[in-house]
Structure formats: structure tokens, C-alpha cells
């Protein structure tokens, strides 16, 4: 895949997360992956169509998901990863993907995004590509999130 397509996703993360309560997101690792990803607990998949096709997966532990949901809801305690917390994580994934889509239009790529699919469970395997793809590990105040990006131009 084209490594240039990764930056719009990293930029989106850096731009959106401070707006929803995480002032200093950090990029900790970027690596190529050719095996299936393994769920950390909560996996959100968002699909892309039109001039770029593929999937992007946000993979985090349930603790991280609860931490993010709580922060997004102005510090409201989130004991269970319940419907409201799921909705918050789904919304975050949507914002990140929509923001990345806007960044992609600046590269003259028109894209459409699907509804996020949120799956819960630890250790299940996630296959989003037949070939190699990039995973970016981000850090939110000590909480890691993997963004697996398997997209290709479709011109």
C-alpha cells in the first residue's frame, strides 16, 4: 500500500483527539504488518469506498475504551462499557475517519466512509487485508490505541 495514505489518519488523530479532551496524543510506533491483528478488547472497523478502498481498524483495550468514553463525556465515570460508552467510541471512530476523509480530499481523493462496526471481545483475530498493511500505535495519556490502516487507491 501507499505509505502516503497513512498520514491523513495520523493527522486526523492529532487534530481530533485534543478537541475531545486529550491534549497531547503521541505517536509511539509505526510498523508493517502482514498477519491478522489480535483484538485488545474493543475493535472498531471503518470501511472506505470510492477513490480509496479499504478498512481502518481502531483497536484498544476495554479499559482504554472506558477511559476515552469517560473523558469524552467530561469525566463522567464509566464503570461498564455500556451502550453510552460504546456510542462514544463509535462516535470517536466516526470523527477520526471523517476527518481523515477530509484530509484525503486535499490529496484529491474523494472517499466515502461506512458506519463504524464495533466489536467487543479479547483475543479474537481481525483480518482486514490480503497483503501487508501499516499499524500506527498511538498513546493517549498512557493508554495505547492501534490504528491499523489497510487502504489502497482505487482510481
Amino acid at each position: 500500500m501507499d505509505a502516503k495514505l497513512v498520514n491523513p489518519f495520523i493527522d486526523a488523530f492529532m487534530a481530533v483527539m485534543p478537541q475531545i479532551g486529550f491534549p497531547t496524543p503521541k505517536r509511539t510506533k509505526v510498523y508493517l504488518q502482514d498477519k491478522n491483528a489480535v483484538s485488545r478488547g474493543v475493535v472498531v472497523m471503518v470501511g472506505f469506498t470510492k477513490q480509496m478502498r479499504g478498512n481502518v481498524v481502531y483497536n484498544m483495550s476495554e479499559d482504554t475504551a472506558k477511559f476515552i468514553a469517560s473523558t469524552m463525556m467530561m469525566g463522567m465515570p464509566v464503570a461498564e462499557f455500556d451502550a453510552m460508552a460504546q456510542s462514544a467510541i463509535s462516535e470517536m471512530s466516526n470523527m477520526l475517519s471523517a476527518n481523515a476523509a477530509t484530509n484525503l480530499t486535499q490529496m484529491e481523493l474523494e472517499v466515502d466512509i461506512s458506519t463504524p462496526s464495533l466489536t467487543i471481545g479479547e483475543g479474537f483475530s481481525v483480518k482486514i487485508s490480503e497483503s501487508q498493511y501499516l499499524t500506527v500505535e498511538m498513546d493517549l495519556g498512557g493508554h495505547p490505541i492501534d490504528i491499523a490502516i489497510a487502504v489502497d487507491r482505487n482510481l
Partner: protein, 278 residues
């Protein structure tokens, strides 16, 4: 039932309707035939042309209403003006469309006529979820030569439980959403054996078989929708496949439907969900 004196108009209309879940039970070329066929078939809905050789559409509607006060009639005519609408409404015509009509307009109108209160869920079920039921039936018939009648139900549980494999494909366009094909590991093996014609199937091959099948069937479902709604431009994303036990798929803010096709090697299930507010 279609009432129209023009053979071409009847053909166009029945062609529109053939792409939907409405079935044309009778076609009449004049008012006399319309009355006769109405009594014979007692159709759920009537489309009525204005110009008929033996009476106008309003008079014909009046006569139908006389035999069945609950008759649901929509006028589809070349002309549509205030006078016609007020006279028609007085005769009991429920809706007015102007020729040429789009399949879209027809479906929306007929759906509304069919239900006292057309709910969003009903529209999603009839126009969208059923397109995937047809796709699943056609797909399984073509791929493993099994004739099945999949069932469709609104799915309102908090989670979809997956033990085995789930292929998730995003839907973009209007509405956005996602479609999932899922089954147990045993069913996956059984399915892949049938598809490949051998019992010697590895886990990877079985995964690929289900992924490819999901791609074909969900793609076909979306084509079924696009055939009817020319302006929705629905597309599918590449598949994402998850495997494991005790996986829960949450669907916040989605209206979802479960489609089940029962086979002797287990249930082949689908869950299609559409975003709220589209």
C-alpha cells in the same frame, strides 16, 4: 392492480414494480375491466390512470370505493393539477403521482399507502433488508446449489454474538451501514466443503470461502438496492473478517435486521444494519 388504457404505460409500471417487493396481481385497460378484476383479486393497492376509454379515473375510483370502501388507490397520470387532486381526494384517491414516475416515488408512495403510519423500520425492512434476503437466497443457490428460504426479523438485542467467523462489510452511500455474514466454525467448514466439493478443507480455505461468499452476496444485495433506487449510490467496502469465540458486535445507533438461512450443516446468518437519521 394497474389500471391504465395504454399498454406501454402498464408495461413501464409493472417493470418498475417488478424491482420491488410489490407484486402485480392484475392489469386492467378500462373501468369495466378494473371493477371485474378488483372483485376477483381484491388487490391491496390500485394504481389508476386518469384517461380511460369508458370512464375517467376518478369515476372508476368512485366505483371501486363503492364495492370496497377500504380500497387504496393512487392516481398516476400525465396531468396533476389542484382541480384533479381535490376531485380525486373526494372520490377517495389516497395519493397522486405524475407521469413519468420514478421507481423511487412509486415505492415511497405505495409503502405509505400500505401502512397507516409508515415507520422508518418498515421502509428499511421492505426496501433495504429484503434486498439482502433475496441476495442471500440467490447467492446460496448459485454457490452451493441449495434452495433455501431465508427468514428476516428485526434484531433489537444489544449485541450480536459471534462464535466462529464474521465477515463485516461496510455500506456507504444512502443509507450508510454495515452488513455482516456470520456462522459457527462447524457451519463454515460444512459450507466450504460444499463450495469446494471436498471434505479436505483447511481453516484458511474455509475462511476465504466464507469471505468471498459474503462479498458476493452483500455486493449483490447492494446491487439489488441500486437497481431500484438510482440515486442512493450505495457501495460496499472491502471485507474485514473476525474469528474467535464470544465476540460481541455492538451496533449503537443502527437499526439492524437478522437474516437466517437454515441448512443441514447449520445456520448461515446475516445481520444488516442501517444508520439512524439517513
Amino acid at each position: 392492480m394497474i389500471v391504465d388504457d395504454s399498454k406501454v404505460s402498464r408495461a413501464i409500471l409493472s417493470n418498475h414494480l417488478s424491482k420491488t417487493n410489490f407484486e402485480v396481481v392484475a392489469m386492467a385497460k378500462d373501468a369495466a375491466e378494473a371493477l371485474e378484476l378488483y372483485k376477483e383479486h381484491n388487490p391491496e393497492l390500485v394504481t389508476m390512470d386518469m384517461n380511460l376509454p369508458d370512464a375517467d379515473g376518478i369515476e372508476c375510483s368512485r366505483r371501486i370505493k363503492a364495492i370496497d370502501p377500504d380500497a387504496k388507490i393512487v392516481m398516476i397520470s400525465a396531468m396533476k393539477d389542484a382541480n384533479l387532486v381535490s376531485q380525486g381526494t373526494a372520490a377517495g384517491i389516497g395519493a397522486f403521482l405524475q407521469k413519468p414516475v420514478s421507481t423511487n416515488d412509486i415505492i415511497d408512495t405505495l409503502m405509505m399507502m400500505c401502512q397507516q403510519k409508515v415507520s422508518r423500520v418498515a421502509v428499511l425492512r421492505e426496501s433495504y433488508a429484503k434486498a439482502f434476503v433475496r441476495a442471500l437466497r440467490q447467492g446460496i443457490l448459485r454457490i452451493i446449489d441449495l434452495k433455501l428460504e431465508p427468514t428476516l426479523e428485526l434484531y433489537d438485542k444489544k449485541y450480536l454474538e459471534v462464535n466462529g467467523i464474521a465477515v463485516i462489510i461496510g455500506l456507504t452511500g444512502t443509507p450508510t451501514g454495515r452488513a455482516i455474514m456470520y456462522m459457527t466454525k462447524e457451519t463454515m467448514k460444512g459450507f466450504a466443503s460444499k463450495m469446494m466439493g471436498t471434505d479436505e478443507v483447511t481453516d484458511d480455505e474455509a475462511n476465504d470461502a466464507v469471505e468471498e461468499t459474503a462479498n458476493i452476496i452483500i455486493g449483490r444485495g447492494v446491487s439489488n438496492i441500486n437497481d431500484v433506487f438510482k440515486d442512493k449510490e450505495m457501495r460496499i467496502t472491502p471485507p474485514g473478517t473476525i474469528c474467535g469465540a464470544g465476540i460481541r458486535v455492538a451496533s449503537p445507533k443502527l437499526t439492524t435486521f437478522k437474516i437466517t438461512a437454515t441448512t443441514d450443516f447449520g445456520d448461515i446468518c446475516m445481520n444488516v444494519g442501517f444508520a439512524e437519521g439517513d
